[in-house]
Amino acid sequence: MVHQILFFVFAGLCVAGALNLLFQKHPIHSALSLIVVMGSLAALFLLLGAEFVAAIQIIVYAGAIMVLFVYVIMLLNAGEEEKSPDNSSIALYIGVPAITAIVAFVLLLLVRRNDVHDGVQLGQFMGGTKAIAMKLFTDFLLPFEVTSVLILIAIMGAVVLARKER
């Protein structure tokens, strides 16, 4: 019972953060809302019992990646968004109905599923750091190594792009 209340609290916080991100005018406020979203996701991971993933979510996502986002916003001195004087009619007449249609379709699919399991019980995962490590280095070794190579390529690309012109 307590777990369900906590789930709704943190899920509500996550959705509120995401909506706030969309509606804020200044990019730094949006970045801070995204940090709130990351934090509530970590709390949801904790509720599921995945403690290592929750900690890593905070350390990597909220603590490193978002710091770089905030850093870029501070360096580029991004100002508030400007509102364009003429409202776009495409957005109003095609966008809103399209989004309504997509959301209704997704809800229809979710409601009419026949193969609904019980869902994941909160606190169900009993793995810990050790279980994740064993899986990562035995069953999932190839994706792990390929991801490392991908990150290395990204680093090299960033270094090449940031180099001074001779």
Binding site: I35, F52, A62, G63, A64, V70, Y71, M74, L75, T129
Partner: protein, 355 residues
């Protein structure tokens, strides 16, 4: 009384004691720093307010409370007020998972059945919680500098956040060696593997001397202490990221810095110097599980943290500060490879031991 109520009372007492002791320790660390640095520079520190200047922190606290709390024009108000709060909150949270002493057999004193540890909570991922809190503490500094609408603050904040995220890497990696030796992320379990006297501490028996060196250096950089304190370089940036802050908010940044120093010293003590174990097992009072044993454990823990704080202050009085590019290249080109090599070497030693 009901078991649950006893548990709640015990935990509430623990929280109150730890918080108040820490905040008092933060205030008196400022006094200790001024005294020690003064002595090293051949002058008295504070001597006028109370005997040996011992009431100086109280006078400082009163000053901070009654000073005018300015809000400069043009600042981003919500972020200006939020930033010191973030710095203080995430500087104090690591205390919740740090074990101060051994398990206390509460049944002996009629207070419940199982043993209670002198720790607020013992989570399985204690070490990662501390790393997470230090990662988020960076925002206090970055946002304070940016929201202050001042060039000095912005530069100080940018330098500080870049420095902190760079040294977080070697900080985390230096702890992986200890992790491999003790096979657990829970801080109490890591301390328990170091029982038995000075030769069993992780710095000697766990062969983590290089890990210790990397950790201490990265901790100095994380806390923006000399020799890495360019973000608050008094001669260059006026006061860096806290230039525009006045009374209580400035005090909160101060508290956050010293609380971070405490957390870093606590982690170094727990992971490398054996936590609350004495140099020789005979140096504890009482038998295991009694109150005297627990309190002497707390004494040894506090003693080691005191030595670390004196080390921090000694270094501040002695070394000049790094230039910014020297600082960054030191972190990325020297400490990070050294930490990685430490991880490899520790893994090799463990694999050879197990065959």
């Amino acid at each position: 009384m009901n078991e649950t109520i006893k548990l709640i009372i015990f935990n509430a007492v623990k929280i109150l004691v730890v918080t108040h002791v820490l905040l008092g320790a933060v205030a008196y660390t400022v006094w200790l720093e001024r005294k020690l640095i003064g002595r090293m520079q051949n002058r008295w520190g504070p001597t006028r307010v109370g005997p040996f200047g011992l009431l100086q922190p109280i006078a400082d606290g009163l000053k901070f409370i009654v000073k005018e709390d300015m809000l400069p024009p043009g600042v981003n108000k919500p972020l200006f007020i939020l930033a010191p709060a973030i710095a203080v909150v995430f500087g104090l949270t690591p205390l919740a998972v740090i074990p101060f002493g051994p398990m206390l057999d509460a049944a002996r004193y009629g207070w419940g059945e199982k043993a209670q540890g002198l720790q607020i909570t013992d989570v399985n991922i204690g070490l990662l919680v501390i790393l997470a809190m230090t990662s988020i503490g960076v925002y206090g500094i970055a946002l304070s500098g940016w929201s202050s609408n001042s060039k000095y603050s912005l530069l100080g904040a940018l330098r500080a956040s870049a420095q902190m995220i760079s040294y977080e890497l070697s900080l985390g990696l230096s702890l992986v060696g200890v992790l491999m030796m003790s096979q657990s992320l829970s801080l109490r379990a890591i301390v328990d593997t170091q029982a038995g006297g000075i030769l069993h501490w992780n710095i000697f028996a766990g062969l983590q001397i290089i890990g210790f060196f990397v950790y201490v250096t990265s901790a100095f950089a994380e806390n923006n202490r000399i020799p890495f304190d360019l973000p608050e370089a008094e001669t260059e940036l006026v006061a860096g990221y806290h230039t525009e802050y006045s009374a209580m908010k400035f005090a909160m940044f101060f508290m956050a810095e010293y609380a971070n120093m405490f957390s870093a010293s606590s982690i170094a003590t727990l992971l490398f110097l054996g936590g609350w174990h004495p140099p020789h097992p005979a140096m504890m009072l009482g038998t295991e599980g009694s109150l005297a044993y627990a309190l002497s454990g707390v004494f040894w823990f506090a003693f080691k943290i005191f030595l670390f704080i004196c080390f921090y202050i000694w270094i501040r009085a002695t070394l000049p500060r790094f230039r910014y590019d020297q600082l960054m290249s030191f972190g990325w080109k020297f400490l990070l490879p050294l930490a990685l090599a430490n991880v490899l070497a520790s893994g090799l030693v463990i694999a050879l031991r197990n065959t």
